[in-house]
Amino acid sequence: MGKQITVPFGPQHPVLPEPIHLDLVLEDETVVDAIPSIGYVHRGLEKLVEKREYPEYIYVAERICGICSYIHSNTYAECIEQIMHIEIPERAQYLRTIWSEYSRLHSHLLWLGLFADGMGFESVFMNAWRLREHILDDMEATTGGRVIQGVCKVGGVRKDIAPEKLDEMLKGLKNLEHELHDLTDVFLNDASVIHRLKGAGVLKTEDAYYLGAVGPTARGSGVPIDIRQTGYAAYGKINFKPVVESSGDSYARCAVRAKELYTSIDIIEQCIKKIPEGPVDVKVTGAPDGEFFARAEQPRGEVVHYIKGNGKKNLVRHRVRTPTFTNIPPLVTLLKGCQLADVPIVVLSIDPCIGCAER
């Protein structure tokens, strides 16, 4: 047993797009303990509810994160609708589902690119981002924004998609699926990728469950938590199965995300086939009085929006628990026992989004 030394990791590090700091306690080259510290980008967005009225605050809620932005606004709107007992039109529910899945596609492709880049696999990075561009184009054509869609509002959605555009999207997705197979097959079957990821950063099933892991981090460890199964938006009317892998290492988490790309495409195709005609929003009057915990499945996992209102236009409290925030304790656990050289890969494998985590 060697002498223990502490190596700081972050907040500035080539693989980290956002600042998180880890104090790694090492014995020789093996990590025996990791102490996370965040707090570099805390903006206090939740406090803003006191200054903004609830219909306008949705644009603030959407800016909690720059990647899963759409789903934040969706969850916020759903939370308010639950408190105020607003029934939104069916077409709006389907549109929300379509955009949610589009943002999952774009987030997973972004992550795949960054992850491949983190381990030096540049061509996957280029190709993943090239495919992501098609998703962003479709997003911009239907909502008006590439990553900040601003299309959700309390009581429905702000934009409708024309039937011709839906057909075009369907065709685009078919193409995309084809190209994705080329991309993910190369990535997941590459000998050096397998060598690098198999067995790195193992999270046991029980640990994943009780430490509060969510999303692909939990599903990679065999915990089948997928909030889409609760059937919010139109997910209740769609057939899909959550992707679950059992080995719990970095490779399993990658495989979950890669396979989820196909699930997302499948869900969008089902939605486009089933989407009914009708209006896309209802008029909302009054203000929320009550409280509710709304949950949704983001690309990184389960997000919880808690809203408490007292019948005034300004809410009392809006609390967001983002997936990365609850994935920090599992990260600490799965870093224990891995090699120092694997730390960047293991950290990236939970897809950390720190701006999101600190709000």
């Binding site: 644009y59 561009e133 054509a141 924004g145 900040i148 601003g150 080329d182 079957n189």
Partner: protein, 133 residues
């Protein structure tokens, strides 16, 4: 173990044009719905202040007395709330993104026609938009 898995993608890339645009030599793609920046038709504005109330970023300031409409381009989050709420449809979304700047400021102030009690003054409507530091 497999070899030459990536060959298909590589060959395809060799014989296709680059996916990237030669920006700014070629203009960036834009869609009909793209939210670029807010533009105003000063002749139609009635200084009702709806846009100012609805703005989540508090970027718009409307002065009823002075008949001016002012937007801070750096505060604006381009959500298009103001465009939706405008009763006279004088606000619109231009799909072109605003040009980047290297200086502070970004405040854009326009003198507008004001409420439609009387006929809108023709000189106010014709006044060109002026930039203010």
């Amino acid at each position: 173990m497999t070899y030459f898995q990536n060959a298909k993608t590589i060959v395809k890339s060799l014989f296709s044009r680059p996916s990237t645009l030669m920006y700014p030599a070629k203009p960036a793609k834009k869609m009909a719905l793209s939210r670029g920046h807010v533009i105003i038709d000063p002749a139609k504005c009635i200084t009702c202040r709806s846009c100012q109330r609805k703005c989540p970023a508090q970027a718009i300031v409307v002065d009823v007395k002075e008949k001016t409409w002012e937007i801070d381009r750096f505060r604006c989050i381009i959500c298009a709330s103001c465009v939706e709420v405008c009763p006279t449809k004088c606000l619109a979304m231009d799909p072109q993104y605003p040009e980047s700047t290297t200086a502070r400021g970004g405040i854009y102030k326009v003198t507008v026609a004001g409420p439609k009690k009387k006929e809108p003054a023709p000189d106010a409507a014709a006044k060109p938009a002026e930039m203010k530091e």
